[in-house]
Amino acid sequence: MEYFIQQLINGLTLGSIYGLIAIGYTMVYGIIGMINFAHGDIFMIGAFISLAVFLILTSVLGFAFLPVVLLIVIIVAMLFTSAWGWTVERVAYRPLRGSFRLAPLITAIGMSIVLQNFVQVTQGARVKPLPPQIRGGVTLIEGSTEAGTIVVQLSYMQIIIIVTTVVLMAAFTLLISRTSLGRAQRACEQDRKMAALLGVDVDRTISLTFVMGAALAAVAGFMFLLLYGVIDFYIGFVAGVKAFTAAVLGGIGSLPGAMLGGLLIGLIEVFWSGYFSVEYKDVAAFSILAIVLIFLPSGLLGRPEVEKV
């Protein structure tokens, strides 16, 4: 039981990260109907920028007060990663808007290759370890069995990750539902041509969608860095596929769905690793992707698609 609760907490933490990445997929799919293959690598870019900013603040400038450091890292990483998101859209997707469907998918894969290899070339192929920065936590349950003492712990890091995610999600939901930008975005999702006729700047709206997705991915990248303490140029691919699975599971195009899907994927992965096998944890995630798409193509919270004859 204690083990179960501990895994639950770990799963929710990991799921928060996937959820934040998944929002980027779901928004882009919602608005221009393409899988932004490079989004996982934007997440990776975010993680690298976070690492650099963190190192500058702590080892070069010598800041020691962690909360301020974390806040600065998040803000700077969001800003710079957004620039990457914007550029990817501008260079690889906008020229192909309205072209046939395969072209942007190929440029997206191309962009993903470019980002991975750019980081590999400029930062090296070896992993970058970062020792745990936030130690300690709250002990929830402490019990002893014949096997020894069992402790269920909610670490401060997990608290930070979950709270950050909740805050960002809330802010983001408000942004989409209350502001004119959110309205423009929803209008473009429904009918891009009509939105343009009604005076919505479609290009700008789509760009901002990429920027927002990238900003959230940057936060996810930073949290990934804190949680695992190791990043390399390749983390974006697997995390990206899992986050996409989360978006599909929740119902692509739905923001709460992306978050829910992320949490579920995180839980599944953690429980699978905990109870079955660590080696096949990615197989679990990929199988769920296939199963969901086959049996529940509209996801948990998505709108079903009707075949028009």
């Binding site: 690492l51 650099a52 020229p95 046939f100 469907r101 395969l102 072209a103 962009m111 970058k128 199988s287």
Partner: protein, 484 residues
Amino acid sequence: MAASETQVPTSTQKPVGAQAQSEARRAAPHTTEAASKNRLAASLRDAALAAFLAGVLGFFFIGLRTDLAPGGLDIRARWGAWLTSIAIVFIGRLALNVFVFKAAHPVGEGVGAKIAGVGKAAPKLGKWLTRALFIFALALPFFFTTFFPGRDRQFIDLAILIMTYIMLGWGLNIVVGLAGLLDLGYVAFYAVGAYSFALLAQHFEIGFWAALPLAGLLAAFWGIILGFPVLRLRGDYLAIVTLAFGEIIRIVLLNWYSFTGGPNGISGIPKPTFFGLELGRGDDGFAAFFGIEYDPIQRFIYLYYIIFALALLTNLVTLRLRKLPIGRAWEALREDEIACRSLGINTRNTKLTAFAIGAMFGGFAGSFFATRQGFISPESFTFIESAMILAIVVLGGLGSQLGIVIASIVMIGGIEMLRNLGFLTQIFGPGFDPVQYRMLIFGLAMVLIMVWKPRGLVTTREPTAALREKKRIGADMVAQGEGH
């Protein structure tokens, strides 16, 4: 949905040349001095913006570098490299602006017109190019042994590699180009073929030629198994599920130690024999039997002809199938699945045949890969391979056999050429290794070629039947599948 999505491209897509010309025409009346000054100012502004963006993007990657150091990570600055990259972007963008984007007479103008002219002459040109390429491919090993005796091995090896990708491209073309099913996990069948042969050879001592059909059948079988549940998915969803299947197979190969050897892979895979003759130095070898002098190059030449024959087989079968009802049904499926169903075509079976046949050729190529390398491990079958094969198919022009050849030569050959750029170390210093930029350049090329020609290099479709004359069909009319 269908109508709006499929018709948009025809209206918005203009050939680059024409677009450039129309822009030039718009600019033409203002070719006064003031206008050109304005243009220059705009170009400068634009280039400055691009440089600024490059600075922002590059700051944490080019400007700074984190490295492992004793006692944790160390971060150091590389301002020189950073400033150089900004300057390169500024100058490059400015040059592009001045000479192409904002110029009164863009440099690309003439090129665009020439390309349009080539397009018109395409059927004839295509036919001659095909013949020339075929003859060259046929004589290729002797061409290299005669003219490049010192480096023939390297060149023939490269030709084998390119030919393997051509075959894989042709195999995937059945699935993506003809049937319009987006498959991002094609490498799975390549892996199935390779592992089938390796395991058959390891456990039952079956030779290459006996294992080849078995490997193809096994791959086709896996194509059906994987295809069956997913083929009702459309477009991007199908792509992502096939990607997931490809990864699942790779992870299983990686972790099933007792069967596949895990990350260590399988080594000692036998080389193909020539009607029972080994291509080795021994007394019962090929050279001894025919009474010629042994030369290690013979094995390379033999391997080249094997993959050449396999690729040719793929091509011939595909061309035949296109003219058969099944091939027409594939193309019809790509055009409009609902209409297919209304005509009594069992779309599921039709898709499965495409998947299975494509997988079979992937399996053949996989067997060849195993026998060529003599060693396989899951590392050779990552997603990037699938992406490269798909890129070759799409860049070549969906459905075009010739386009795939050109794309393979350009993309694979081009990248391998980077290995020969050793002289660059004299410019950039000894630490410079062009090979490490291969995938970066590959990715950039993918993006640039797609943006330049979204429908690929060869874009016309040849009808499979004609009453009076065969007229080639322009790409703007041909659907790309799953567009509804």
